[in-house]
């Protein structure tokens, strides 16, 4: 599998675990029925479906992504859901959107603006604000924390402290560019009434197959290639607890419990 395919696979497999938090965040935005919005960095289109559901049959969602492979998949997902009239997709760059000023009632960006290492967050947020009408809202949403190894806080801290463990949270960039500092970008972009919200997801034993598979994928996404950075002792413990083929795989523990958070920052375009 190439990188795009394996990323797509991870998104598919992890969605049963993450979808309730995404739904809660979209609900909290209280999108107006019949409104028209932008999903910037829409990936394989799962959230565009939930956003389209939130704005109802008269509303419309425009999904934009830089990957044509994701968009081809997203088109299929939307056609299967019978929503092709309510969701359209464009290939494009979030930092140079192909839309005029004041086009949308709202903009949503998940795991993209402020999260993707290749995208400068300040200008991307300004670009989202540009295409939203005065009084409309801009929201950025992304994974922000997790506790996945109950009973092993030291091992989990060590895994998170590796370069591959910190990578999703943009190691090496200025503190101001970190996703959790998004309130500053909203202020600098001139957005009003900015707010931060936290959404919690969890899982506990006995795990269904779907949730177990989602957590296996999550371990791989959270700590990719971590082993080379661990001490011998940590590596042995990691293999014992986090390898699906290990007889002591932590997801099969009868008392397994985990939780994670997503954070959403949102603000209104000056009216």
């Amino acid at each position: 599998m190439n990188d795009t395919n394996s990323y797509m696979q991870s998104m598919l497999v992890s969605s049963p675990l993450t979808e309730p938090s995404v739904r809660s965040a979209i609900k909290a935005l209280q999108l107006t029925p019949g409104s028209q919005g932008l999903d910037a960095g829409c990936g394989i289109g799962f959230q565009a479906l939930l956003l389209a559901e939130a704005v109802g049959p008269v509303g419309h969602v425009t999904g934009l992504d830089i990957s044509s492979e994701f968009l081809r998949y997203a088109e299929e997902v939307v056609n299967e859901a019978g929503l092709s009239g309510h969701i359209s997709f464009q290939e494009g760059d979030v930092s140079r959107l192909p839309f005029g000023d004041d086009t949308f009632d709202w903009a949503w960006s998940s795991s993209c603006v402020g999260y993707s290492a290749s995208l400068e967050p300040f200008s991307a947020l300004k670009e989202l604000a540009r295409v939203v009408k005065p009084g409309g809202s801009v929201a950025v949403f992304a994974w922000s924390s997790e506790k996945l190894l109950p009973g092993y806080p030291v091992l989990e801290a060590h895994l998170n402290a590796t370069a591959s463990g910190i990578a999703p949270f943009l190691a090496g960039r200025s503190p101001e560019a970190h996703f959790l500092r998004a309130l500053g970008w909203f202020r600098d972009a001139g957005l009003e009434e900015s707010a931060a919200r936290t959404f919690v997801g969890d899982a506990y034993a006995p795990l269904t197959n779907d949730i177990r598979n989602a957590l296996v994928a999550l371990f791989e996404m959270r700590w990719p290639g971590v082993e080379s950075e661990l001490t011998q002792e940590d590596r042995a413990e990691y293999q014992r607890l986090c390898w699906p083929e290990s007889p002591e795989f932590i997801l099969d523990h009868p008392d397994y419990y985990a939780f994670f958070t997503y954070s959403m920052f949102h603000g209104n375009v000056t009216g």
Binding site: S68, L71, R72, S88, Q90, E91, G92, D93, F99
Partner: protein
Amino acid sequence: MDILVCPVCKGELELTVEEENEKEIVTGSLYCAKCDVRYPIEETIPNLLPPE
């Protein structure tokens, strides 16, 4: 489709349809006269990535 503009100059685009079905345009292009850039539409998805 009608909300799309040129990602570089934000100017209007001129649509050329090569193939369409009852629902949408399958193949075609969107042309920005000001930048002299043609953005392709393939398998119903317009590609508005700015030229590098």
